[in-house]
């Protein structure tokens, strides 16, 4: 294990990736914080013999603001941008700069190097979304922190599953384009086209828009993220792309 630990340490010690992580985390956090700073209102009408007006599960305003932070279009635009850069930096940039020649000649198999690089991209990405989300939620609603589990229980589980699906999809695109492209810039541009084409053409049947819309629907009745469409795009497609990337990294020379 000591062998792999050295590799993990090396991968998490990269200056450019850490600078990107720092700015990404701060920008995501501030845009989430800004998004909840407004007053809003929900008019309602209730009629019946026993009306339940109070209780944590009735705090729809708070629930809506916390939920809204997970599908902010600013955040996901920034995240797709940063994930593509992270992918290009991890899998491509070391080859462009020549460092890869030394790394890949060390007594590590290409699979080990691939696994560790993938792990670093995953950790950076998940932390960049979930850490600011948790921080902003807990500090902004500190006075009612004890009620938060009950307020968020209706949507949070499903929404986090979809966030993981979306992140996996974005990372798999970034990984494959970085390994297939001949240099880091091209990898970034191709990945950008793949991720932005569905947004520009307005097709909500393909990620990332598919998942962003789905996250906003969490908590509504009979919505579940475990349908063929979401699992297909969120697990099967990423697995297929990772498999192709793995074959590429095993077969191709480090150039």
């Amino acid at each position: 294990m000591g062998r792999l630990k050295t590799l993990v340490k090396w991968e998490f010690n990269d200056v450019i990736k850490n600078v990107l992580f720092l700015f990404g985390l701060v920008l995501v956090g501030i845009s989430m914080k800004k998004s909840i700073m407004d007053v809003n209102y929900i008019p309602g009408f209730a009629s019946g013999t026993e009306i339940k007006l109070f209780g944590p599960s009735r705090a729809h305003g708070v629930a809506g603001e916390i939920h809204g932070m997970l599908y902010l279009s600013d955040v996901w635009t920034l995240m797709s941008f940063l994930i593509l850069l992270l992918g290009a930096l991890s899998f491509r940039y070391d080859r462009d700069s020549g460092v890869a020649r030394s790394i890949y000649s060390l007594p590590y198999s290409n699979t080990e190097i691939f696994g560790v690089k993938l792990l670093s991209v995953l950790v950076y990405t998940v932390l960049m979304v979930l850490l600011p989300f948790a921080y902003v939620t807990l500090t902004s609603y500190a006075s009612i922190a004890g009620y938060l589990p009950e307020i968020t229980s209706s949507f949070l589980g499903d929404a986090l599953v979809l966030v993981v699906f979306l992140v996996l999809y974005l990372i798999s695109v970034a990984t494959l384009t970085s390994l297939a492209a001949p240099n880091a810039f091209l990898a970034f541009i191709v990945g950008f086209a793949v991720i932005y084409a569905p947004r520009v053409t307005g097709s909500s049947e393909i990620p990332p828009q598919l998942f962003i819309n789905a996250i906003s629907r969490c908590g509504s009745t009979d919505f579940t993220p475990f349908t063929a469409q979401y699992i297909g795009w969120g697990i099967l497609v990423p697995l297929a792309l990772f498999a192709v990337s793995w074959i590429l990294i095993k077969r191709r020379d480090v150039v």
């Binding site: 985390l25 914080k33 909840i36 013999t49 009612i144 307020i151």
Partner: protein, 153 residues
């Protein structure tokens, strides 16, 4: 690893950013309404309630401006506690404080119709929120100092 340095610096910057967001939001005036609030009606054992749920991200000083006759009652949605009630006859302009961030329910518990609008004129984070922000900020700063100190060795 530089990873911890980056993580903790980012959280520290986020702390400072949160304080900046609060200070810029302090005097931000937002308004809600006007809302038409018919009184709560009870027919036999059936109750009909028209209500407004207001959400504020900080504790706020609210200026209400109401026309009509009735009793404006404001409740904390989570606990059900009454925050403010005010009897309006004709026209009234008055102020009340929403004690913490969260949702508040507004109903008219009088006998006649009311039209109300609300202006949120001062917004301050509560003491709990300030404690959370400063407390976590202190933890991040101390951990960052530890990380940097270990780099020197």
């Amino acid at each position: 690893m530089r990873f911890w340095g980056a993580l903790l610096s980012a959280m520290l910057l986020l702390t400072i950013g949160s304080l900046w967001v609060y200070s810029s939001y302090e005097n931000h005036v937002s308004s809600a309404g006007p809302f038409f609030l018919p009184p709560v009606e009870r027919k036999g054992n059936v109750t009909e309630i028209t209500e407004i749920t207001l959400h504020t991200p900080t504790s706020s000083l609210v200026e209400a401006s109401c026309d009509g006759n009735g009793v404006v009652e404001v409740y904390d949605v989570i606990t059900g506690e009454m925050v403010d009630n005010h009897t309006v006859s004709g026209h009234a302009r008055y102020q009340f404080v929403l004690p913490h961030e969260g949702d508040y329910l507004v109903i008219n518990n009088g006998t006649a119709k009311l039209t109300c609008s609300f202006r949120f004129i001062k917004n301050y984070p509560t003491k709990d929120v300030q404690n959370a922000v400063y407390g976590l900020g202190t933890v991040f700063a101390l951990l960052l100092a530890l990380v940097i100190w270990r780099w020197r060795k």
